[in-house]
């Protein structure tokens, strides 16, 4: 079996975001980039399958040269290798353009399963898994909180707002995972050392047969009009309770009534 894990390099949530005034994109390299948290769960799930059933696990990342530190981080979990799609023309690609590129790269690969995070912490579109499946003409079992494999049949517990839905499809397929699916491991020292020498296959747009006119800031089907920092909030009111609870309760009820919630 061969499993592909698409991974994304994202600014750390805690980092201050800096905008590039030239093209209104976020200056990602200025914002402590890290491996997207949700991709740690997909990697963990892929590694568990690999350890149980035997599988080759490959990371796939669309990102600039600097993303190689993120890819090495992913490899330190014990993956077998990685593919990076890097091209200056990709800067500013939206979700559809990203999925188009990932799909083009995957058309050159043999694989049984694609496991990915359900959302990236920066763009957070939650679009890429379904878009990727559509471009590859594959079924997608998204928001998995449990994944079982029996022969070529995948059975997934799909997290719903009110519980879950049990769904099934045949491989090859796309699965996106939510946090509840597992508890990711920490990379071992051995894994970190081994990651340095794992094969990393870097391809540009020409190599995967994607026209630069279909991607990037100009080629994406959506465009950003402007980006501004969210205006700071006025400091709110604060009440100290006296330890009985009733002072705090009365004041809070008063606030709720003022705002017409009661």
């Amino acid at each position: 079996m061969r499993i592909i894990c698409p991974i994304k390099r994202v600014p750390d949530t805690a980092a201050e975001k800096k905008l590039d005034p030239a093209d209104r994109t976020v200056d990602r390299e200025q914002s402590d980039p890290v491996l997207n948290a949700n991709d740690e769960w997909s990697i963990e799930e892929a590694m568990r399958i690999s350890e149980r059933d035997g599988a080759e696990v490959i990371a796939l990342c669309m990102g600039p040269d600097e993303a190689q530190s993120t890819i090495r981080k992913a490899l330190s979990y014990g993956l077998d290798g990685a593919i990076q799609i890097s091209d200056p023309a990709l800067h500013g690609s939206d979700a559809v353009a990203t999925a188009r590129v990932l799909a083009a790269a995957l058309r050159q690969e043999q694989f049984d399963l694609i496991i990915m995070g359900n959302q990236s912490s920066d763009a957070r579109t939650m679009l890429v898994p379904a878009l990727l499946a559509e471009f590859l003409d594959l079924p997608a079992l998204t928001y998995a909180r449990k994944l079982e494999i029996d022969g070529s049949t995948l059975t997934v517990q799909r997290e719903s707002p009110s519980g879950h839905v049990v769904v099934q499809a045949q491989m090859p397929a796309v699965v996106s995972v939510v946090e509840a699916i597992n508890e990711p491991r920490y990379p071992s020292f051995k894994g970190i050392m081994a990651a340095k020498s794992k094969p990393l296959d870097v391809r540009d747009l020409a190599a995967i047969g994607v026209d630069a006119a279909d991607v990037g800031l100009e080629g994406s089907w959506t465009q950003v009009v402007d980006v501004v920092a969210r205006p700071p909030k006025e400091p709110g009111k604060r009440v100290e309770d006296d330890g009985s609870g009733s002072v705090g309760a009365k004041a809070l009820a008063e606030f709720l009534a003022e705002r017409k919630f009661i």
Binding site: A14, V178, V228, G243, A249
Partner: protein, 324 residues
């Protein structure tokens, strides 16, 4: 031109609140006609009533097949509805399962797609969508490039539903032919947790969220009681879901759900950046925390420094009294 198709959400024929919100947004902003697409079991039952919110036509696929398969049966229906309606804008509810349907349909009709819009304005034929990015640190306005269908996902509670008193919508039954592709992922079972009649968290206009400060799973019953008194839903921090005190689908934050209710009331939550990333664009924020230095106070409109176990019971009493 510039007709808008609203992808309606309903429970066995009863339109969900988001449907009225989407129709209101479409009606108030669009220059052309507003139509609805309604799929699933009993879809036909309430579809004509969408006229009250301004839908001229309802394109209906009343079939249990919509829910027997994952995503792609509805994708085929959405493409059919779009073609039948002639609309070039689709408004859908920015919730996970529906977003999958919209994403696949967008690729099929070469549309641009934007999710999580909290406001919409028109610039000629283009819909300009406002959305929070980077966990609410930044606000961005974006649009689909001219010349393409526009798929826009809208967050619950971004708009207030208002009836327009229109005539019943004209029902147009869609003829949706499912091929093998649409049937390749199937639904085997649907498992619903006891909701206690509470609204779904991502749709609720009031959310009561609890964190590590609750101390145990049992204390979430207290939170549920408070939620019921206010007609709200219950949310949780990762510390609480990790501890198994509340199910993960209620987790708010970077790796959980992003919510923007009219009221977020957090108790025993410190307000870590990863939690704030999922709630800081809420319209009103109230908190109860015993630590006056907790970072959550910095984004609160109203804060009580106190013990939640002491404050919440009399708060429930007070709310009930005022509601009588």
């Amino acid at each position: 031109m510039g007709d808008i198709l609203v992808l309606a959400e309903h429970d066995a024929g009863v339109p969900r609140r988001i449907t009225g919100q989407l129709l209101t947004a479409a009606r108030e902003r669009g220059a052309g006609a507003v139509h609805a697409a309604v799929f699933g079991d009993k879809a036909a039952e309430g579809a004509d009533r969408l006229g009250a919110h301004g839908a001229a036509k309802a394109f209906v696929w009343d079939s249990s097949e919509a829910d027997a398969y994952v995503t792609e049966a509805r994708t085929a229906a959405l493409v059919a509805a779009l073609q039948a309606s002639g609309a070039d804008v689709v408004l859908f509810s920015s919730e996970p399962f529906t977003t999958d349907v919209a994403a696949r349909a967008a690729v099929r009709v070469n549309a641009g797609i934007i999710t999580d819009a909290v406001d919409l304005e028109m610039d000629g034929d283009a819909v300009v969508a406002t959305k929070a990015i980077f966990g609410g640190d930044m606000i961005s306005r974006c649009r689909v490039r001219p010349g393409r269908p526009q798929f826009i996902g809208v967050k619950a509670n971004a708009f207030t539903a208002q009836e327009a008193g229109g005539a019943p919508a004209e029902i147009v039954a869609l003829d949706v032919q499912l091929d093998d592709t649409a049937r390749r992922a199937s639904v085997v079972d649907v498992v619903e947790q006891e909701s206690g009649g509470r609204p779904e968290m991502t749709e609720a206009s009031i959310i009561i969220a609890g964190g590590r400060g609750l101390g145990d799973a049992e204390s979430f019953r207290l939170l549920e009681e408070l939620a019921d008194a206010l007609g709200g839903a219950v949310g949780a921090s990762r510390a609480a879901t990790d501890a198994g005190w509340y199910p993960h689908q209620h987790q708010i934050g970077q790796t959980g759900k992003t919510v923007a209710p009219q009221l977020y009331l957090g108790a025993g939550i410190s307000g870590a950046i990863q939690h704030r990333a999922g709630m800081q664009t809420s319209q009103a924020i109230a908190v109860i925390n015993k630590d006056a230095d907790a970072p959550i106070f910095s984004i609160a409109d109203f804060g009580v420094v106190g013990d939640l176990h002491k404050v919440i019971p009399p708060l429930i009493e007070e709310i009930r009294k005022r509601r009588e």
